[in-house]
């Protein structure tokens, strides 16, 4: 029984979303804040607090949230260092940046 419970617990831990290193809120047709700097391997959570749908779409197509309706959120883990410009595919004047640095460098907004 203990083995079964341990297996279930491990499986649950493996599939659980990691705690985000940063949270970007979308409201008033803008991403808050930008730029955001995180480490390689960090997860960023994007929350749509706006009254209209938005997306989180990388200019280089490396990630795309799909449509985020009001109160929906989406997370993405950044596995490579770099400067990631992204925009809303529904409102293209909404633009922002995530900067991903190696773990040896200091992150923060």
């Amino acid at each position: 029984m203990n083995l079964i419970l341990s297996t279930i617990l491990l499986a649950a831990l493996a599939t659980a979303s990691p705690t985000p290193a940063a949270v970007v809120h979308i409201h008033d047709f803008a991403y808050h804040e930008t730029p955001v700097t995180v480490h390689v391997g960090d997860t960023v959570r994007f929350v749509n607090d706006d009254g209209d749908a938005h997306t989180v779409t990388a200019s280089d197509k490396s990630f795309d949230s799909g449509g985020l309706d009001t109160n929906e959120s989406w997370t993405h883990t950044f596995t490579k260092a770099g400067k990631y410009e992204y925009f809303c595919a529904l409102h293209p004047y909404m633009k922002a940046v995530i900067i991903v640095v190696p773990v040896t460098q200091k992150a923060g907004n």
């Binding site: 209209d52 997306t55 799909g66 449509g67 309706d69 409102h91 004047y93």
Partner: protein, 294 residues
Amino acid sequence: MQRRDFLQHVGWTGAGIAFTLSGVGTLRATALADVPPGAFNFVQISDSHIGFNQPANDHVSETLQMTIDRINALPVAPAFVIHTGDVTHLSKPAQFDAAKSILGGLKAPLVTIPGEHDFIGDDGKAYFAAFGRKDSKTPWFSFDMHGVHFVALVNVFNFEKNGLLGQDQIDWLKADLATQKTSTPIVVFGHVPLYALFPTWGWETEDGSKALALLQPFANVTVLNGHIHQVMEHSEGNIRFYTADSTAYPQPKPGTADKPGPLLVPSDHLLGVLGYRTVALGAGTPLVEQHALG
């Protein structure tokens, strides 16, 4: 001439349109009914946003259904109904299924083009599965009906740059229009306005000027679009632009708010800013009219 008189003058059933494929993905229509020379009509609807569920209108399926019922009850059946995009709100399969089911209630043939809300996350894969034309090799297409050349454009690829046609589509348009006499009436469908209506809010097509340059030689050009959820008219030379109301919710007039997006109006005013558009084509300027649901 009043609309009723005009329609009685135009009066035909609209039945019996047979589409045949000719050229590269070009649809041609053969009128089988006894169509009076020089006039016929069609209907435009737009921006249904099936799946939208916010206070601006949490009954978008019902307002689309109401629109369909009004169109089906028109005294003169339209030759076809064009939906100028944003059929769905978030491009989800269930939303396409629901939209297809409601639009399937139209008595008249349906023609659609996509909006950016139909292209979310998959470059239009779900849209084309639901509404793609199997008789066209390209997402964009043209057809001829009763002496009018209709061009259906797709300007929501790569929406990072607002509306965008792309060079492939521009090249196709150039070749397509080269087959037409400059005296042929041209009607163009697009989702995003082809001209710079209000770039601050993304209400323009980045390379729309290239398309308009190709259309300028024609004596009679009508451009119908959606996207901005309100009626506006504009002209440049021989090109007349008309934007349509949504069947779902209105948006602010350009520059009257900090941002675009769903505009909350008093519930008893909502049906007054939703509706469909009739377009009657005769010898001269088209008769373009917006019809509110309430």
